[in-house]
C-alpha cells in the first residue's frame, strides 16, 4: 500500500522519505544534528476551491462559518486558516472537506470545485526556511504575519503560500507542476540538509 502511494506520487521518484543534501546545517536544541529544512507531503488530501459570485463574498464567508465552522474574518488574506487559505479575492482553498459538504454550505452564493487531484500541498518547516524562501520566492514571506496567504511563485512555479507558523509554510501547487517543484525544493534545500518526512509522521 505504502509502496504504491510512493509510486503514484505526483512528486516523482526523488521525493523519498529520509535525509537529502548536506549532512546537517542546523543544530537541534539537544545538541544533535538536525536538517535545516523539513518537508512533508500527505497524499490523498481533499481540496475544494470556492469562489464567491460577484458581490457575495461577505455572505459566502458567513455561510462557510455557519456550515463548516471556518471563521474567515473580513476576507483579508491575513485571516486565512490552516485548512482554508485565501487564493484570491473572495476565493479560498479548503482542505479536509468533501465537495458535497462544501457545496451544501456555500449554496448559491458561490462556486465550489473539487481540486483534490488538481492541487498538491507541500509543507516546509525548519530553521533554514528563510534561507530557502530568499532564493525561491520574490516576496519576503518572513515579513508576513502568521495566518497570511497569497498567491505568488515558488522557483518560478505559480503557487499559493500560507504561513502556518514562525518557520512553517504550506505551498499549494498545480499537480502537473508538483514534480518539478519537488525536485527544485530538494536541490535548493540541499545546502541546508532536507529531511523529507514520511506521510505517517
Amino acid at each position: 500500500m505504502m509502496d504504491q502511494s510512493v509510486m503514484r506520487s505526483p512528486l516523482g521518484p526523488h521525493w523519498t522519505p529520509g535525509h537529502h543534501g548536506t549532512a546537517a546545517a542546523a543544530t537541534g536544541g539537544d545538541g544533535g544534528a538536525q536538517a535545516g529544512i523539513r518537508a512533508l507531503h500527505k497524499p490523498g488530501l481533499l481540496v475544494v476551491e470556492i469562489a464567491a459570485l460577484p458581490g457575495k463574498g461577505k455572505a459566502m464567508r458567513a455561510a462557510v462559518k455557519k456550515g463548516l465552522k471556518l471563521d474567515l474574518g473580513d476576507g483579508s488574506p491575513a485571516a486565512s486558516l490552516p485548512n482554508a487559505v485565501c487564493s484570491g479575492p473572495d476565493r479560498y482553498l479548503l482542505t479536509g472537506f468533501d465537495l458535497a459538504a462544501v457545496k451544501a454550505a456555500v449554496g448559491d452564493l458561490g462556486l465550489a470545485v473539487d481540486q483534490s487531484s488538481g492541487r498538491v500541498r507541500l509543507s516546509i518547516d525548519g530553521a533554514n526556511v528563510p534561507g530557502l524562501l530568499a532564493k525561491s520566492c520574490p516576496l519576503d514571506l518572513t515579513k508576513w504575519p502568521v495566518g497570511m496567504s497569497q498567491a505568488s511563485h515558488f522557483l518560478h512555479i505559480g503557487c499559493t503560500w500560507y504561513r502556518r507558523s514562525e518557520t512553517g509554510f504550506d505551498l499549494y501547487i498545480g499537480r502537473s507542476f508538483a514534480r518539478s517543484a519537488a525536485e527544485w525544493l530538494i536541490e535548493s534545500a540541499a545546502e541546508f540538509g532536507v529531511e523529507i518526512l514520511s506521510p505517517e509522521d
Binding site: P89, Q150, A151, S152, G158
Partner: protein
C-alpha cells in the same frame, strides 16, 4: 517595474500579463448580431496612442488571477495605481491602490528575477 495589485499589493511586473488598453466597452452588435458601422471600425482599429497617463488591462496570472486596470504613464512608465477591472467601469469607482513605496526597488526586483 512594480504593479500594485488591489488584492496582493506590490508585485513584480513579471507576475502579470498585459492585455491592452482599457477603453470604452465594446459597441452594441448590429442587425443579425454582426459588427456594424463606424463604431466597430473605431473600436477595433483606432488607438489614441497617448503620451500621457493611460489605463491598461493586466491579468495577475502568477498571483491572484484577477483582471485589473493599471494606471501608467506611457513616457515614464510611472505606475500611479490600479483598480479591479470589475470595478473600473462602475460609476462609483473605488480608490485605486497606491504606489507610495513603489519607485526605488523596481530595478532591484528586476535583477532578482533570475
Amino acid at each position: 517595474m512594480l504593479i500594485p495589485c488591489p488584492h496582493c499589493g506590490l508585485r513584480p511586473s513579471e507576475e502579470f500579463v498585459p492585455k491592452g488598453l482599457a477603453e470604452a466597452p465594446r459597441p452594441a452588435l448590429g442587425g443579425r448580431a454582426k459588427p456594424d458601422g463606424p463604431a466597430w471600425q473605431n473600436y477595433l482599429h483606432l488607438r489614441d496612442n497617448v503620451a500621457d497617463h493611460n489605463h491598461e488591462y493586466f491579468h495577475h496570472a502568477l498571483g491572484c488571477r484577477s483582471w485589473i486596470v493599471v494606471h501608467r504613464h506611457t513616457l515614464t512608465h510611472e505606475v500611479t495605481g490600479a483598480t479591479m477591472a470589475a470595478d473600473f467601469w462602475k460609476a462609483d469607482k473605488p480608490a485605486t491602490t497606491g504606489t507610495q513605496d513603489a519607485k526605488s526597488p523596481a530595478a532591484e526586483t528586476a535583477e532578482d528575477g533570475q
